[in-house]
Protein backbone atom coordinates (compact mmCIF):
# COMPACT_ATOMS: atom_id res chain seq x y z
CA UNK A 1 0.00 0.00 0.00
CA UNK A 2 1.47 3.38 -0.90
CA UNK A 3 1.48 6.30 1.52
CA UNK A 4 -1.09 7.98 -0.71
CA UNK A 5 -3.47 5.02 -0.46
CA UNK A 6 -2.89 4.80 3.27
CA UNK A 7 -3.95 8.43 3.60
CA UNK A 8 -7.30 7.62 2.01
CA UNK A 9 -8.07 5.14 4.76
CA UNK A 10 -7.96 7.57 7.65
CA UNK A 11 -11.21 7.21 9.57
CA UNK A 12 -12.40 9.99 11.86
CA UNK A 13 -11.96 9.02 15.50
CA UNK A 14 -15.09 10.51 16.99
CA UNK A 15 -14.97 11.57 20.63
CA UNK A 16 -18.05 11.30 22.86
CA UNK A 17 -20.41 14.20 22.06
CA UNK A 18 -21.79 14.62 25.59
CA UNK A 19 -20.28 15.84 28.84
CA UNK A 20 -18.16 18.74 30.00
CA UNK A 21 -15.10 17.68 28.00
CA UNK A 22 -17.11 17.68 24.79
CA UNK A 23 -18.57 21.10 25.61
CA UNK A 24 -15.16 22.56 26.36
CA UNK A 25 -13.79 21.09 23.16
CA UNK A 26 -16.51 22.69 21.06
CA UNK A 27 -16.11 26.03 22.82
CA UNK A 28 -12.36 25.85 22.22
CA UNK A 29 -13.01 25.14 18.53
CA UNK A 30 -15.13 28.28 18.27
CA UNK A 31 -12.65 30.45 20.14
CA UNK A 32 -9.99 29.12 17.81
CA UNK A 33 -12.14 30.25 14.89
CA UNK A 34 -12.32 33.76 16.39
CA UNK A 35 -8.56 33.84 16.91
CA UNK A 36 -8.04 32.84 13.28
CA UNK A 37 -10.37 35.64 12.26
CA UNK A 38 -8.57 38.28 14.30
CA UNK A 39 -5.19 37.08 13.07
CA UNK A 40 -6.38 37.28 9.47
CA UNK A 41 -6.69 41.07 9.60
CA UNK A 42 -4.12 43.48 11.00
CA UNK A 43 -6.62 46.31 10.52
CA UNK A 44 -9.05 44.66 12.93
CA UNK A 45 -6.33 44.28 15.50
CA UNK A 46 -5.33 47.95 15.25
CA UNK A 47 -8.97 49.01 15.34
CA UNK A 48 -9.45 47.16 18.62
CA UNK A 49 -6.96 49.50 20.29
CA UNK A 50 -7.51 52.64 18.18
CA UNK A 51 -10.92 53.80 19.48
CA UNK A 52 -10.36 53.20 23.20
CA UNK A 53 -6.98 54.90 22.86
CA UNK A 54 -8.55 57.99 21.24
CA UNK A 55 -11.22 58.11 23.96
CA UNK A 56 -8.62 57.88 26.67
CA UNK A 57 -6.53 60.65 25.12
CA UNK A 58 -9.51 63.02 24.73
CA UNK A 59 -10.80 62.56 28.26
CA UNK A 60 -7.31 62.49 29.70
CA UNK A 61 -6.49 65.92 28.28
CA UNK A 62 -9.84 67.26 29.46
CA UNK A 63 -9.06 65.96 32.94
CA UNK A 64 -5.66 67.64 32.79
CA UNK A 65 -7.25 70.93 31.83
CA UNK A 66 -9.91 70.71 34.54
CA UNK A 67 -7.33 69.84 37.13
CA UNK A 68 -6.04 73.42 36.78
CA UNK A 69 -9.46 74.86 37.79
CA UNK A 70 -10.86 75.27 41.32
CA UNK A 71 -13.50 72.53 40.93
CA UNK A 72 -12.68 69.87 43.55
CA UNK A 73 -14.55 67.17 41.63
CA UNK A 74 -12.56 67.86 38.52
CA UNK A 75 -9.36 67.77 40.53
CA UNK A 76 -10.07 64.22 41.69
CA UNK A 77 -7.27 61.96 40.60
CA UNK A 78 -8.16 60.64 37.17
CA UNK A 79 -11.92 60.41 37.71
CA UNK A 80 -12.64 61.09 34.07
CA UNK A 81 -9.97 58.75 32.74
CA UNK A 82 -11.17 56.10 35.17
CA UNK A 83 -14.73 56.59 33.93
CA UNK A 84 -13.65 56.30 30.31
CA UNK A 85 -11.63 53.15 30.91
CA UNK A 86 -14.40 51.45 32.89
CA UNK A 87 -17.03 52.49 30.37
CA UNK A 88 -14.85 51.06 27.63
CA UNK A 89 -14.71 47.74 29.48
CA UNK A 90 -18.51 47.59 29.31
CA UNK A 91 -18.78 48.92 25.77
CA UNK A 92 -15.92 46.93 24.20
CA UNK A 93 -16.99 43.70 25.86
CA UNK A 94 -20.55 44.19 24.55
CA UNK A 95 -19.27 45.02 21.06
CA UNK A 96 -16.91 42.04 21.17
CA UNK A 97 -19.78 39.71 21.98
CA UNK A 98 -22.23 41.16 19.46
CA UNK A 99 -19.94 41.70 16.49
CA UNK A 100 -18.45 38.25 16.80
CA UNK A 101 -21.95 36.83 16.67
CA UNK A 102 -22.89 39.09 13.73
CA UNK A 103 -19.73 37.91 11.98
CA UNK A 104 -21.25 34.42 11.82
CA UNK A 105 -24.25 35.89 10.06
CA UNK A 106 -22.21 38.05 7.68
CA UNK A 107 -20.30 34.95 6.65
CA UNK A 108 -23.50 32.86 6.39
CA UNK A 109 -21.93 30.34 8.74
CA UNK A 110 -24.69 30.16 11.33
CA UNK A 111 -26.52 27.34 9.50
CA UNK A 112 -23.35 25.23 9.64
CA UNK A 113 -22.86 25.95 13.34
CA UNK A 114 -26.44 25.30 14.33
CA UNK A 115 -26.56 21.94 12.56
CA UNK A 116 -23.31 20.80 14.16
CA UNK A 117 -23.22 19.24 17.65
CA UNK A 118 -22.61 22.75 19.07
CA UNK A 119 -25.23 23.62 21.70
CA UNK A 120 -26.57 27.20 21.91
CA UNK A 121 -25.20 27.61 25.45
CA UNK A 122 -21.76 26.60 24.18
CA UNK A 123 -22.00 29.23 21.47
CA UNK A 124 -22.90 31.81 24.14
CA UNK A 125 -20.08 30.66 26.42
CA UNK A 126 -17.56 30.84 23.56
CA UNK A 127 -18.74 34.34 22.64
CA UNK A 128 -18.45 35.40 26.29
CA UNK A 129 -14.96 33.98 26.62
CA UNK A 130 -13.91 35.62 23.39
CA UNK A 131 -15.29 38.99 24.48
CA UNK A 132 -12.92 38.85 27.50
CA UNK A 133 -9.95 37.94 25.31
CA UNK A 134 -10.77 40.79 22.92
CA UNK A 135 -11.15 43.10 25.88
CA UNK A 136 -7.67 42.19 27.08
CA UNK A 137 -6.19 42.85 23.64
CA UNK A 138 -7.92 46.21 23.44
CA UNK A 139 -7.82 47.56 26.99
CA UNK A 140 -4.49 46.46 28.44
CA UNK A 141 -2.39 48.58 26.03
CA UNK A 142 -4.73 51.55 26.57
CA UNK A 143 -4.55 51.25 30.37
CA UNK A 144 -0.75 51.10 30.12
CA UNK A 145 -0.78 54.18 27.86
CA UNK A 146 -2.99 56.02 30.38
CA UNK A 147 -0.34 55.36 33.03
CA UNK A 148 2.53 56.63 30.92
CA UNK A 149 0.75 59.64 29.41
CA UNK A 150 -1.38 60.85 32.35
CA UNK A 151 0.08 59.01 35.31
CA UNK A 152 -3.28 57.31 35.89
CA UNK A 153 -2.91 53.81 37.23
CA UNK A 154 -6.09 51.78 36.89
CA UNK A 155 -4.66 49.34 39.42
CA UNK A 156 -4.96 52.09 42.07
CA UNK A 157 -8.57 50.98 42.34
CA UNK A 158 -7.16 47.92 44.07
CA UNK A 159 -9.20 44.77 44.51
CA UNK A 160 -12.35 46.67 43.69
CA UNK A 161 -11.12 46.83 40.09
CA UNK A 162 -11.55 43.08 39.73
CA UNK A 163 -15.09 43.33 41.07
CA UNK A 164 -15.85 46.32 38.82
CA UNK A 165 -14.54 44.35 35.87
CA UNK A 166 -16.82 41.39 36.67
CA UNK A 167 -19.90 43.57 37.03
CA UNK A 168 -19.27 45.43 33.77
CA UNK A 169 -18.47 42.30 31.76
CA UNK A 170 -21.53 40.45 33.07
CA UNK A 171 -23.72 43.41 32.10
CA UNK A 172 -22.14 43.49 28.66
CA UNK A 173 -22.99 39.81 28.14
CA UNK A 174 -26.62 40.43 29.08
CA UNK A 175 -26.80 43.21 26.51
CA UNK A 176 -24.93 41.08 23.96
CA UNK A 177 -27.37 38.21 24.40
CA UNK A 178 -30.38 40.46 23.89
CA UNK A 179 -28.96 42.04 20.73
CA UNK A 180 -27.84 38.65 19.35
CA UNK A 181 -31.35 37.27 19.93
CA UNK A 182 -33.03 40.20 18.20
CA UNK A 183 -30.65 39.95 15.24
CA UNK A 184 -31.28 36.19 14.99
CA UNK A 185 -34.98 36.78 14.78
CA UNK A 186 -35.08 39.93 12.65
CA UNK A 187 -31.91 39.50 10.62
CA UNK A 188 -29.11 41.93 9.93
CA UNK A 189 -31.66 44.76 9.57
CA UNK A 190 -31.55 44.90 13.37
CA UNK A 191 -27.75 45.10 13.38
CA UNK A 192 -27.83 48.73 14.49
CA UNK A 193 -29.13 47.51 17.83
CA UNK A 194 -25.86 45.72 18.46
CA UNK A 195 -24.05 49.03 18.26
CA UNK A 196 -26.54 51.27 19.97
CA UNK A 197 -27.90 49.23 22.89
CA UNK A 198 -24.95 49.97 25.17
CA UNK A 199 -25.27 53.71 24.50
CA UNK A 200 -28.75 53.58 25.98
CA UNK A 201 -27.03 52.94 29.30
CA UNK A 202 -24.53 55.78 28.95
CA UNK A 203 -26.73 58.56 30.39
CA UNK A 204 -28.53 56.24 32.82
CA UNK A 205 -25.63 54.53 34.53
CA UNK A 206 -23.96 57.82 35.43
CA UNK A 207 -20.58 57.23 33.85
CA UNK A 208 -19.30 60.80 34.12
CA UNK A 209 -21.48 62.27 36.92
CA UNK A 210 -22.91 61.12 40.25
CA UNK A 211 -26.40 59.64 40.55
CA UNK A 212 -27.47 62.68 42.58
CA UNK A 213 -27.33 64.75 39.39
CA UNK A 214 -30.30 62.83 37.95
CA UNK A 215 -33.87 63.91 38.69
CA UNK A 216 -35.35 62.12 41.70
CA UNK A 217 -37.69 59.96 39.64
CA UNK A 218 -34.84 58.69 37.45
CA UNK A 219 -32.48 57.75 40.26
CA UNK A 220 -34.15 54.39 41.08
CA UNK A 221 -33.87 53.47 37.39
CA UNK A 222 -30.16 54.29 37.43
CA UNK A 223 -29.63 52.31 40.63
CA UNK A 224 -31.35 49.30 39.09
CA UNK A 225 -28.52 49.14 36.54
CA UNK A 226 -25.40 47.26 37.74
CA UNK A 227 -22.85 49.58 36.06
CA UNK A 228 -24.17 52.59 38.03
CA UNK A 229 -22.80 50.99 41.20
CA UNK A 230 -19.43 50.53 39.53
CA UNK A 231 -19.11 54.18 38.51
CA UNK A 232 -20.34 55.40 41.89
CA UNK A 233 -17.87 53.07 43.58
CA UNK A 234 -14.99 54.24 41.42
CA UNK A 235 -15.69 57.91 42.23
CA UNK A 236 -15.98 57.07 45.90
CA UNK A 237 -12.56 55.41 45.89
CA UNK A 238 -10.78 58.07 43.84
CA UNK A 239 -12.37 61.10 45.52
CA UNK A 240 -12.91 59.94 49.11
CA UNK A 241 -10.83 56.80 49.45
CA UNK A 242 -13.88 54.89 50.69
CA UNK A 243 -15.93 52.14 49.20
CA UNK A 244 -19.04 50.26 50.29
CA UNK A 245 -18.79 46.58 49.24
CA UNK A 246 -22.56 46.19 49.70
CA UNK A 247 -22.92 48.23 46.55
CA UNK A 248 -21.02 45.57 44.64
CA UNK A 249 -23.06 42.69 46.01
CA UNK A 250 -26.15 44.57 44.98
CA UNK A 251 -24.70 45.03 41.48
CA UNK A 252 -23.76 41.36 41.19
CA UNK A 253 -27.26 40.33 42.27
CA UNK A 254 -28.76 42.58 39.63
CA UNK A 255 -26.35 41.10 37.10
CA UNK A 256 -27.56 37.58 37.84
CA UNK A 257 -31.10 38.72 37.01
CA UNK A 258 -30.06 40.55 33.84
CA UNK A 259 -27.97 37.62 32.66
CA UNK A 260 -30.86 35.21 33.17
CA UNK A 261 -33.15 37.58 31.28
CA UNK A 262 -30.53 37.96 28.52
CA UNK A 263 -30.13 34.20 28.05
CA UNK A 264 -33.89 33.62 28.16
CA UNK A 265 -34.35 36.34 25.52
CA UNK A 266 -31.66 34.82 23.29
CA UNK A 267 -33.17 31.33 23.62
CA UNK A 268 -36.65 32.63 22.93
CA UNK A 269 -35.55 34.48 19.78
CA UNK A 270 -33.55 31.44 18.61
CA UNK A 271 -36.65 29.28 19.04
CA UNK A 272 -38.70 31.89 17.25
CA UNK A 273 -36.20 31.99 14.35
CA UNK A 274 -36.51 28.19 14.06
CA UNK A 275 -40.29 28.49 13.95
CA UNK A 276 -40.22 31.32 11.41
CA UNK A 277 -37.59 29.64 9.27
CA UNK A 278 -35.27 32.63 9.24
CA UNK A 279 -32.09 30.77 10.18
CA UNK A 280 -31.38 29.71 6.61
CA UNK A 281 -32.01 33.16 5.21
CA UNK A 282 -29.50 34.96 7.38
CA UNK A 283 -26.54 36.62 5.75
CA UNK A 284 -25.49 39.73 3.90
Amino acid sequence: MTARQAMRDVEPVLLPPNGIDASLRRMAALVRRYIYLLRSSGVRLVELIYWPFLQMLTWGFLQKYLAGTQNPYAQGAGVLIGSVLLWDILFRSKIGFSTTFIEEMWSRNLGNLLTSPLRPYELVAALSLWSIIRLGVSMVPVAVAAFFIFGFNLLDLGLALAAFFCVLVLTSWSLGLISAGVILRYGLGAEELAWSLAFLLLPLCCVYYPVSVLPDWLQPVALALPPTHVFEGMRSILLHNTFDPMDLWWALGLNAIYLAVGYATFSWFLGSARVNGTLLQLGE
Binding site: M1, L14, A22, A29, L30, G111, L114, G277
Partner: protein, 288 residues
Protein backbone atom coordinates in the same frame (compact mmCIF):
# COMPACT_ATOMS: atom_id res chain seq x y z
CA UNK B 1 2.07 -2.32 3.91
CA UNK B 2 1.50 -4.18 7.15
CA UNK B 3 2.44 -1.09 9.11
CA UNK B 4 -0.15 0.97 7.28
CA UNK B 5 -2.80 -1.71 7.62
CA UNK B 6 -2.07 -2.02 11.33
CA UNK B 7 -2.37 1.72 11.74
CA UNK B 8 -5.65 1.87 9.85
CA UNK B 9 -6.93 -1.14 11.82
CA UNK B 10 -5.97 0.45 15.11
CA UNK B 11 -7.71 3.65 14.12
CA UNK B 12 -10.86 1.79 13.18
CA UNK B 13 -10.75 -0.13 16.46
CA UNK B 14 -10.28 3.11 18.42
CA UNK B 15 -13.18 4.62 16.55
CA UNK B 16 -15.42 1.63 17.18
CA UNK B 17 -14.58 1.67 20.87
CA UNK B 18 -15.14 5.39 21.18
CA UNK B 19 -18.29 5.31 19.15
CA UNK B 20 -19.55 2.31 21.06
CA UNK B 21 -18.98 3.96 24.40
CA UNK B 22 -20.80 7.12 23.55
CA UNK B 23 -23.69 5.23 22.02
CA UNK B 24 -24.02 3.47 25.37
CA UNK B 25 -24.02 6.92 26.95
CA UNK B 26 -27.08 7.76 24.95
CA UNK B 27 -28.96 4.99 26.63
CA UNK B 28 -31.49 3.12 24.54
CA UNK B 29 -29.41 3.15 21.37
CA UNK B 30 -31.95 5.00 19.21
CA UNK B 31 -30.50 3.67 15.99
CA UNK B 32 -30.74 -0.06 16.69
CA UNK B 33 -33.97 -0.63 14.79
CA UNK B 34 -34.62 2.87 13.54
CA UNK B 35 -34.22 3.95 9.95
CA UNK B 36 -31.92 6.91 9.31
CA UNK B 37 -34.90 9.10 8.46
CA UNK B 38 -38.57 8.68 9.38
CA UNK B 39 -40.91 11.54 8.60
CA UNK B 40 -44.56 11.39 9.59
CA UNK B 41 -47.26 13.90 8.65
CA UNK B 42 -44.68 16.65 8.46
CA UNK B 43 -46.18 20.07 7.90
CA UNK B 44 -44.76 23.56 7.83
CA UNK B 45 -46.93 26.62 7.59
CA UNK B 46 -45.83 30.24 7.36
CA UNK B 47 -48.96 32.16 8.15
CA UNK B 48 -51.45 31.26 5.45
CA UNK B 49 -48.80 29.64 3.23
CA UNK B 50 -48.25 25.90 3.59
CA UNK B 51 -44.70 25.15 2.51
CA UNK B 52 -44.78 21.45 3.42
CA UNK B 53 -48.11 19.71 3.61
CA UNK B 54 -48.48 16.48 5.62
CA UNK B 55 -45.68 14.50 4.04
CA UNK B 56 -44.57 11.10 5.30
CA UNK B 57 -41.66 8.98 4.17
CA UNK B 58 -38.97 6.69 5.52
CA UNK B 59 -35.44 6.29 4.24
CA UNK B 60 -33.66 2.99 4.73
CA UNK B 61 -29.97 2.79 5.56
CA UNK B 62 -27.61 2.84 2.61
CA UNK B 63 -30.04 4.32 0.12
CA UNK B 64 -29.80 7.57 -1.79
CA UNK B 65 -33.06 9.44 -1.99
CA UNK B 66 -33.72 12.59 -3.97
CA UNK B 67 -36.29 15.20 -3.12
CA UNK B 68 -37.26 16.52 -6.49
CA UNK B 69 -39.46 19.47 -7.25
CA UNK B 70 -39.64 22.93 -8.74
CA UNK B 71 -38.88 26.16 -6.94
CA UNK B 72 -41.02 26.49 -3.82
CA UNK B 73 -41.98 22.81 -3.80
CA UNK B 74 -40.78 22.45 -0.20
CA UNK B 75 -37.45 20.64 -0.70
CA UNK B 76 -35.24 23.03 1.28
CA UNK B 77 -37.82 23.44 4.03
CA UNK B 78 -38.03 19.66 4.39
CA UNK B 79 -34.24 19.32 4.62
CA UNK B 80 -34.07 22.21 7.10
CA UNK B 81 -36.67 20.47 9.28
CA UNK B 82 -34.66 17.25 9.10
CA UNK B 83 -31.66 19.20 10.34
CA UNK B 84 -33.60 20.90 13.13
CA UNK B 85 -33.03 24.36 11.60
CA UNK B 86 -36.75 24.83 11.12
CA UNK B 87 -39.40 23.64 13.56
CA UNK B 88 -42.34 21.78 12.02
CA UNK B 89 -45.83 23.20 12.47
CA UNK B 90 -47.10 19.63 12.82
CA UNK B 91 -45.86 16.08 12.39
CA UNK B 92 -42.63 14.45 13.37
CA UNK B 93 -39.08 14.05 12.10
CA UNK B 94 -36.96 11.24 13.47
CA UNK B 95 -33.33 10.76 12.55
CA UNK B 96 -31.84 7.46 13.73
CA UNK B 97 -34.85 7.32 16.01
CA UNK B 98 -34.21 10.69 17.66
CA UNK B 99 -36.96 13.29 17.57
CA UNK B 100 -35.22 16.23 15.87
CA UNK B 101 -37.40 18.81 17.59
CA UNK B 102 -36.28 17.66 21.03
CA UNK B 103 -33.22 15.42 20.88
CA UNK B 104 -31.28 16.72 17.91
CA UNK B 105 -27.97 16.63 19.77
CA UNK B 106 -28.23 12.87 20.36
CA UNK B 107 -27.54 12.28 16.68
CA UNK B 108 -25.93 15.53 15.46
CA UNK B 109 -22.49 13.92 15.27
CA UNK B 110 -23.77 11.20 12.95
CA UNK B 111 -25.02 13.48 10.22
CA UNK B 112 -23.79 16.44 8.26
CA UNK B 113 -24.99 18.67 5.47
CA UNK B 114 -24.06 20.95 2.66
CA UNK B 115 -26.16 23.69 1.18
CA UNK B 116 -25.69 26.70 -1.08
CA UNK B 117 -27.57 28.69 1.57
CA UNK B 118 -24.66 28.52 3.96
CA UNK B 119 -20.96 29.27 3.58
CA UNK B 120 -17.80 28.72 5.50
CA UNK B 121 -16.19 31.91 6.85
CA UNK B 122 -14.48 33.60 3.92
CA UNK B 123 -11.50 35.06 5.78
CA UNK B 124 -10.36 31.77 7.25
CA UNK B 125 -8.20 29.47 5.18
CA UNK B 126 -9.65 26.17 4.08
CA UNK B 127 -7.55 24.31 6.63
CA UNK B 128 -8.59 26.64 9.44
CA UNK B 129 -12.26 26.16 8.59
CA UNK B 130 -11.91 22.40 8.48
CA UNK B 131 -9.97 22.41 11.75
CA UNK B 132 -12.73 24.38 13.47
CA UNK B 133 -15.40 21.96 12.25
CA UNK B 134 -13.28 18.95 13.19
CA UNK B 135 -13.31 20.39 16.72
CA UNK B 136 -17.06 20.94 16.65
CA UNK B 137 -17.72 17.40 15.48
CA UNK B 138 -15.30 15.95 18.04
CA UNK B 139 -12.79 14.44 15.62
CA UNK B 140 -9.74 13.39 17.63
CA UNK B 141 -7.45 12.80 14.65
CA UNK B 142 -8.36 16.10 12.96
CA UNK B 143 -5.11 16.71 11.07
CA UNK B 144 -5.02 13.22 9.53
CA UNK B 145 -8.70 13.25 8.68
CA UNK B 146 -8.48 16.70 7.08
CA UNK B 147 -5.50 15.55 5.03
CA UNK B 148 -7.42 12.47 3.94
CA UNK B 149 -10.65 14.25 2.98
CA UNK B 150 -8.73 17.07 1.29
CA UNK B 151 -6.79 14.65 -0.82
CA UNK B 152 -9.94 12.77 -1.69
CA UNK B 153 -11.71 15.90 -2.84
CA UNK B 154 -8.57 17.34 -4.41
CA UNK B 155 -8.46 20.44 -2.27
CA UNK B 156 -5.14 19.61 -0.60
CA UNK B 157 -3.44 22.34 -2.64
CA UNK B 158 -6.04 24.87 -1.47
CA UNK B 159 -5.64 24.32 2.27
CA UNK B 160 -3.64 27.52 2.83
CA UNK B 161 -5.93 29.73 0.77
CA UNK B 162 -8.67 31.95 2.22
CA UNK B 163 -12.00 30.24 1.58
CA UNK B 164 -13.53 33.44 0.22
CA UNK B 165 -10.99 33.59 -2.60
CA UNK B 166 -11.93 30.22 -4.08
CA UNK B 167 -13.98 29.63 -7.21
CA UNK B 168 -17.55 28.31 -6.93
CA UNK B 169 -16.42 24.78 -7.75
CA UNK B 170 -13.62 24.89 -5.22
CA UNK B 171 -15.98 26.27 -2.55
CA UNK B 172 -18.40 23.43 -3.23
CA UNK B 173 -15.63 20.90 -2.77
CA UNK B 174 -14.55 22.59 0.47
CA UNK B 175 -18.17 22.59 1.69
CA UNK B 176 -18.34 18.91 0.86
CA UNK B 177 -15.09 18.29 2.72
CA UNK B 178 -16.65 19.89 5.79
CA UNK B 179 -19.72 17.70 5.31
CA UNK B 180 -17.62 14.53 5.07
CA UNK B 181 -15.19 15.27 7.90
CA UNK B 182 -17.10 13.19 10.45
CA UNK B 183 -17.87 10.45 7.89
CA UNK B 184 -21.61 10.97 8.45
CA UNK B 185 -23.95 8.01 8.29
CA UNK B 186 -26.58 10.41 6.99
CA UNK B 187 -25.58 13.14 4.56
CA UNK B 188 -28.10 15.83 3.64
CA UNK B 189 -27.36 17.79 0.51
CA UNK B 190 -29.28 20.76 -0.77
CA UNK B 191 -28.56 21.42 -4.44
CA UNK B 192 -25.07 19.91 -4.17
CA UNK B 193 -24.02 20.94 -7.66
CA UNK B 194 -25.90 24.22 -8.04
CA UNK B 195 -23.98 26.80 -10.13
CA UNK B 196 -21.21 24.38 -11.07
CA UNK B 197 -19.98 23.69 -14.57
CA UNK B 198 -20.99 20.26 -15.95
CA UNK B 199 -17.53 18.78 -15.51
CA UNK B 200 -17.19 19.78 -11.85
CA UNK B 201 -20.81 18.80 -11.17
CA UNK B 202 -20.20 15.36 -12.64
CA UNK B 203 -17.05 14.96 -10.60
CA UNK B 204 -18.91 15.85 -7.39
CA UNK B 205 -21.68 13.34 -8.18
CA UNK B 206 -19.07 10.67 -8.75
CA UNK B 207 -17.50 11.41 -5.34
CA UNK B 208 -20.88 11.34 -3.60
CA UNK B 209 -21.77 8.04 -5.16
CA UNK B 210 -18.40 6.62 -4.14
CA UNK B 211 -18.90 7.82 -0.60
CA UNK B 212 -22.39 6.35 -0.28
CA UNK B 213 -21.33 3.01 -1.74
CA UNK B 214 -18.11 2.60 0.20
CA UNK B 215 -19.68 3.36 3.59
CA UNK B 216 -23.24 2.24 3.10
CA UNK B 217 -24.12 5.82 3.98
CA UNK B 218 -27.59 7.26 3.52
CA UNK B 219 -27.90 10.31 1.30
CA UNK B 220 -30.83 12.64 0.99
CA UNK B 221 -30.45 15.30 -1.63
CA UNK B 222 -32.74 18.09 -2.70
CA UNK B 223 -32.35 19.02 -6.32
CA UNK B 224 -34.05 20.15 -9.48
CA UNK B 225 -31.21 18.83 -11.56
CA UNK B 226 -32.67 15.76 -13.28
CA UNK B 227 -29.39 14.33 -14.53
CA UNK B 228 -28.06 14.47 -11.01
CA UNK B 229 -31.07 12.71 -9.58
CA UNK B 230 -31.08 10.04 -12.28
CA UNK B 231 -27.43 9.33 -11.70
CA UNK B 232 -27.40 9.34 -7.91
CA UNK B 233 -30.77 8.39 -6.54
CA UNK B 234 -32.17 4.95 -5.80
CA UNK B 235 -35.50 6.58 -5.13
CA UNK B 236 -37.18 9.85 -6.01
CA UNK B 237 -39.69 11.71 -3.89
CA UNK B 238 -41.42 14.20 -6.13
CA UNK B 239 -42.79 17.23 -4.35
CA UNK B 240 -45.26 19.75 -5.64
CA UNK B 241 -46.68 22.60 -3.58
CA UNK B 242 -45.41 20.93 -0.43
CA UNK B 243 -47.03 17.54 -1.09
CA UNK B 244 -45.54 14.23 -2.15
CA UNK B 245 -47.01 13.37 -5.51
CA UNK B 246 -44.69 10.50 -6.44
CA UNK B 247 -42.37 8.23 -4.50
CA UNK B 248 -40.67 5.75 -6.86
CA UNK B 249 -37.37 4.60 -8.28
CA UNK B 250 -36.26 6.85 -11.16
CA UNK B 251 -36.85 4.05 -13.67
CA UNK B 252 -40.35 3.27 -12.41
CA UNK B 253 -41.19 6.95 -12.43
CA UNK B 254 -40.02 7.43 -16.01
CA UNK B 255 -41.91 4.31 -17.08
CA UNK B 256 -45.12 5.34 -15.37
CA UNK B 257 -45.15 8.72 -17.14
CA UNK B 258 -44.14 7.19 -20.46
CA UNK B 259 -41.22 9.57 -20.83
CA UNK B 260 -37.60 8.97 -21.68
CA UNK B 261 -35.91 10.88 -18.94
CA UNK B 262 -36.69 12.18 -15.49
CA UNK B 263 -36.79 15.63 -17.01
CA UNK B 264 -39.82 14.58 -19.09
CA UNK B 265 -41.51 13.40 -15.91
CA UNK B 266 -40.65 16.61 -14.12
CA UNK B 267 -42.04 18.75 -16.95
CA UNK B 268 -45.21 16.65 -17.08
CA UNK B 269 -45.72 17.13 -13.37
CA UNK B 270 -45.02 20.85 -13.14
CA UNK B 271 -47.18 21.50 -16.24
CA UNK B 272 -50.02 19.51 -14.75
CA UNK B 273 -50.03 16.64 -17.25
CA UNK B 274 -51.33 13.32 -15.95
CA UNK B 275 -49.77 9.86 -16.17
CA UNK B 276 -50.91 7.96 -19.29
CA UNK B 277 -53.11 5.57 -17.27
CA UNK B 278 -54.76 8.54 -15.59
CA UNK B 279 -54.99 10.50 -18.82
CA UNK B 280 -56.93 7.78 -20.73
CA UNK B 281 -60.03 7.72 -18.52
CA UNK B 282 -59.87 11.53 -18.43
CA UNK B 283 -59.85 11.69 -22.25
CA UNK B 284 -62.74 9.17 -22.40
CA UNK B 285 -64.72 11.27 -19.92
CA UNK B 286 -64.14 14.42 -21.98
CA UNK B 287 -65.06 12.62 -25.23
CA UNK B 288 -68.33 11.36 -23.72
Amino acid sequence: MSHNSDKAGAQRKAMDETTGSFRKELGASPDAASPPVAVRDLTKRYGSVTAVDHISFTIEAGTTVALLGGNGAGKTTTIAMLLGLIMPSAGEVRVFGADMSRNRYDVAQRLNFQSPYVDLPARLTVEQNLTVYAGLYGIANAAERIACVSEHLQIDTLLDRPTGKLSAGQKTRVGLAKALLNAPELLLLDEPTASLDPDTADWIRHKLKDYARSRNATLLLASHNMAEVERLADRVILLQAGRIIEDETPKALIASYGGETLEDVFLDVVRGRCKPEEAEPEQARRAS
